[in-house]
Amino acid sequence: MVEKTPILDTLTYVFLIAGIIIVGFPIIYAVIAATLPIEDVSRVPMPFIPGDQFWVNIREAWVRGDLGNHLLNSFIMASGITLGKIVVSLLGAFSIVYFDYRFRTVVFVSVFCTLMLPVEVRILPTYEMAANLLGPLQELWRFLHLDGIVSWIAGHEIEMTLEWSILDSYTGLIMPLIASATCTFLFRQFFLTIPEELCEAAKMDGASAMTFFRKILIPLSKTNIAALVVIEFVYGWNQYLWPLLITTKPQMMTAVIGLQHLIPAADDLPYWNVALAGSLLVMLPPVLVVLFMQRWFVKGLVEREK
């Protein structure tokens, strides 16, 4: 520091520790609650000494909340969104930055219009779309009166219904959430900073576009990809509204949604120890990802600002 301010320095550490304790308190408290038997957790105030029922509560939450199945669903959904977004946006950004073609501007503008609109503001129509992916074709079919033409050709009345529902499926959980241009935008920004000489040199050495993409662009983007993996994994794992809407079968539910059934209702026995044990288990994967990949994550998060 610039000058010596012992009082302020002490205060700094005091406030800092107080801040960390306040921010960490809900979790610390939940961890303690998750180790207690029900008699202790429903005492007011709850004892602050951890008990020995942790594994019992975890097992109870696992069985009662069907967490094995739900965690698997969450994992598939989060990885699917992460992988899908990164692949789609890497290819898209490559096309937009390294090629010149007639519809490039149209494509660019139409993709980046989607930049900020989250699923939350278009839930109902997106749900209808997921209920029948072929809906638009059906509309086109009706618009062109193809029913009539087909009936005329076949000689008798035929009614066509096109239906392909992705409700209650992994495709349905994953695909609509891939439709966002944030990653494409970030990769585009990054590709623009890559020196022109690299591309020229690659071309001079006779590399094709895809070779350049595979051998030069992907390795250069490694840190960005790592950062986006963390951000998108956390985003996918923590999705709430969309999985709530499109899953009706219990075995397709994601872990975050499933937890709701563990919360004790007003006239139930207050099994908060089980509910909190389950919550800790479900929040663990994204928390671990963030903690272990902290460096890339912070970089990626702050990079988004630009």
């Binding site: 700094t12 809900p26 408290y29 609109l117 989250p118 779309m129 709701q260 919360i263």
Partner: protein
Amino acid sequence: MIKRSLFSSKTLPYLLILPQIVVTLTFFYWPAAQGLMQSVMRSDPFGQHSTFIWFANFTALFKDPLYLKSIATTVFFSVCVTVSSISIGLFIATMANRALKAKAVVRTALIWPYAVAPAISGILWLFLLHPSYGIVALGIKRWFGVDWNPVLRGSDAMVMIIMASAWKEISYNFVFFIAGLQAIPKSLIEAAAIDGASPFRRFWTITVPLLSPTLFFVTVMNIIYAFFDTFGVVHVMTQGGPGGATNTLVYKVYQDGFIGLNMGGSAAQSVVLMTLIIVITVIQFKYVEQKVQYTG
């Protein structure tokens, strides 16, 4: 912008952009167009017939006292969440920036709530603020002498969702503020110190103005978070109740559309939200271009 040195191919660029286009068209443009269309239609509950009714859905919406109440609720909620999480985040980040030795440890200790789902944050706080078992609820009852009951009283329920939503966002703000603070040149602070400015004076006249771009960005992101990402918190903690006291706009779209099956009304609400977020985005881009900075 585009590179000077390009690859030339007739089909390859289209093939590369194809997945993005397909996904965007099916899950973005088509639903958005449908939403726009439904918002100017009235359809019967079975979806058999729909009639074009111009902007009747919108006028009905803005005449509906429940919707106006929901707007007020959402604005109040977002302002509280944004102000509290930004001020706490900035405060801790300033402290952490002073504590040079412990910076990495502090960051690790504060960063992980970012990864907690809003809904799970809701569960944790539901327990802490439970009228009969919660320790924080007990503290509120003892210290403030109020009869804490979020199940029955709307204002208590509001406090509850604000706490659960703001808590999670502190770590997000902290990450940005600590990055912003580290980018401020030490020489500026030292020069001011030599001129005799106290640490607090330096904070208000140097740090805060230089931090304004970060502050602006974080504010926008927090508002977006409070508007759209807190659905899980509301759904887990209050389901919009009691008596619609925590019925935020996004929660209302869900309730009217999926539970009330009022397609036109729900679509009109979606369109209002879309417009809102487009306006926020435009403002953001405008200011990011101008780079909010120290000006005077």
